[in-house]
Symmetry: C2
Subunit: 200 residues, 2 copies
DNA sequence: ATAAAAAGAACGATTATTCGTTTTTTATGG
DNA sequence: CCATAAAAAACGAATAATCGTTCTTTTTAT
């Protein structure tokens, strides 16, 4: 059976995904044409369609692999014990996001913005993204419970509300960094610390 | 001179803009076709092109009018004196955003997500959006100076960093509300207050 | 009455996807 | 270890559908 090796097949797939990321980051999900991605990948139309059923499939794969890569990096940070103080955890998470999204020639943070937009019109994308962020927010809620137990936060604290605020801070950093391009993780960490988060 | 009255002309323009908002919120900037907007507006192609040079012009107008409407509502909130406490100000701003973006049949918050995405590929859009958010952030920085003077925040506080964190919180709420759809302004206000922002 | 505004059919350009052909990969027998 | 045949993979021109925009004609407001 003359079939391509799994290793080779996976490499080709990643090659196409890389090309898609670059194109999407430059022109967005729907202005990018299949021909853009095909040329950027160095392959042919037939080859690309051998790995992805259609453009929607490619979009979904580009978004979910980026989300999965980020999760792999973020989960250890928020589940490690002992837990750093709130401002330090936020700073660490943002630092990891900045490091993960920095790529050769483009910024993967842009893919996040595109994913949020796409989630407003594509039910499958919305489900995937909502699931990811909800799970991450649960881990933030677990962290606030730990802080509460350690006496770093008041015992009356509503951990769901606190987790929602922490997630907003993190998502907002991504927007601010992508649109204004003058914000560092350290800026936010210092801002949060000075505003007194986790100091009560 | 048989020319349409200014009043009538402005009403027609708004009619097209409303249609564009609805279409954009439903399908995004680039999946929405001119024909979608034309049909939604109840006018003809020729009429729409009489009010907007082309699709890019219509996109820019849809984004900037939405931004301008929001600024009109937000500026009084952050420039009023005496200033509410940080958590209360954040809550008030988010409440105003929620009220302003709630529309018949769609959520204007979606337009913000689309604008952020578009700013990554359109220099004109990026300039407009960056200008808006930078100006708003300056007002937040001014607010932190006031809090500092009132002794509500430490005198050593870096107001730029604090303003960046506050803006992240606000932008992040928009993302979280649009994607997860389970966050209220009150959630964030409580979360921020309980995390101790502005309590040092 | 007249000039602007609205209408909507028509056009040229572009798009995602397919499919017949060519090239490449790999399991197998010498 | 190497040559080879079979089958998958890659190629890329062709296709059918769709899009933004224009332009001539008709309607409408003043």
């Amino acid at each position: 059976m003359p079939k391509i090796s799994d290793e080779r097949r996976l490499a080709r797939r990643q090659q196409i995904l890389d090309a898609a990321w670059r194109c999407f980051a430059r022109e967005g999900l729907h202005v990018t044409t299949m021909d853009d991605i095909i040329r950027a990948s160095g392959l042919s139309a037939g080859a690309v369609y051998g790995y992805f059923r259609n453009k929607d499939d490619l979009i979904l794969a580009a978004l979910t692999t980026s989300l999965a890569g980020l999760r792999e990096r973020l989960v250890p940070l928020v589940t490690t014990r002992p837990l750093p103080a709130p401002a330090e955890l936020v700073g660490a998470v943002l630092g990891e996001i900045a490091a993960f999204t920095e790529r050769e020639g483009f910024d993967l943070k842009r893919i996040a913005l595109l994913g949020w937009s796409e989630s407003q019109r594509n039910e499958t994308v919305r489900g995937t993204m909502a699931g990811f962020y909800r799970a991450f927010r649960e881990q933030l809620a677990a962290a606030t419970i730990v802080w509460k137990q350690e006496g770093k936060l008041p015992a009356t604290l509503d951990e769901q509300a606190a987790a929602k605020a922490l997630l907003a801070l993190i998502l907002g950093y991504v927007v601010e960094a992508a649109v204004l391009d003058d914000v560092t993780p350290e800026d936010i960490r210092r801002g949060v610390a000075q505003l007194g988060i986790g100091s009560a």
